[in-house]
Amino acid sequence: MVHEVHKIVKQQGKYRIAIANSATSITGDNKNDVFICASHSGINVGQYAAQANVKGFIGNDAGIGLEEAGVAGLKVLDEKGIPGAAVSSMSAEIGVGPTTYETGVISVVNKAAQKIGIKSGITAKQAADLMLQAAVKQGK
């Protein structure tokens, strides 16, 4: 729905780390990407990432909020075995994708992310690298 040019910060074979401001810019072209954005990690955002079959997802926790809606999308990703994590809204500017990657500190992770060693407290960069390495390993 929203057209945005994604910034590719790393590439290994066909797998990439891609950065966007908004999760509404995700398409099927992101299926080999660890997708980093500055959207909240709510239910609808989880659905966009799951539909695109991304290899990993990092968004903003949006203060977590009412009924933990800010990170509800991470569970949606778990249903498809996709690693997902959110950065604290005090560590990165929501709406501004590069800040998620540059300054984001992970606050919440899903089960698939836990399995590949991603923990709350590590940086978004570290988490993205772990997701990329897992994708590369799985793709072999």
Binding site: G42, D61, L66, S89, I94, G95, T103
Partner: protein, 140 residues
């Protein structure tokens, strides 16, 4: 990827109150609308509303967060004279537009909204009605 529907809550002539999960659905078809969504109120989602020519917008404050990024878009709307208000992340589920409208409590307003009498503490419904009435009055 964001295929969310827009629900018309109120309509009078060509003017409407619309509810949707994401600001990513906004197009110029929304130019006569007061827009209610479940997105954060960061800079990029506000750009989407401005681009669509919205007559008013209510979103989620996303916990406000780093550098007040969660409500940075309110100022952008002011630059275009568009009333804007954000509801507290603890009052409504981010990502769920219907929740913004049904249970949202206004936590932040811009200058254009203040001029219409919209205040912190009001419900999103009250704020939306004020924006809608102002729009009808202006159109006369």
């Amino acid at each position: 990827m964001a295929h969310d529907e827009q629900t018309v809550i109120k309509q009078q002539g060509i003017y409407r109150i619309i509810v949707t999960d994401t600001a990513g659905t906004y197009t110029e078809k929304n130019k006569n609308d007061v827009l209610i969504d479940g997105s954060h109120f960061g800079i990029n989602s506000a750009e989407m509303a401005v681009k669509a020519g919205a007559q008013g917008r209510i979103g989620n404050d996303a916990g406000i967060g780093k550098n007040n990024a969660g409500i940075a878009g309110l100022k952008l709307l002011d630059q275009h004279g568009i009333p804007g208000a954000a509801v507290s992340a603890m009052s409504a589920k981010i990502g769920v537009g219907a929740s913004t409208y049904a249970t949202g409590k206004v936590s932040s307003v811009n200058e254009a909204a203040k001029k219409l009498g919209i205040k912190v503490g009001m419900t999103a419904k009250e704020a939306a009605d004020i924006m809608f009435q102002a729009l009808l009055k202006k159109a006369k």
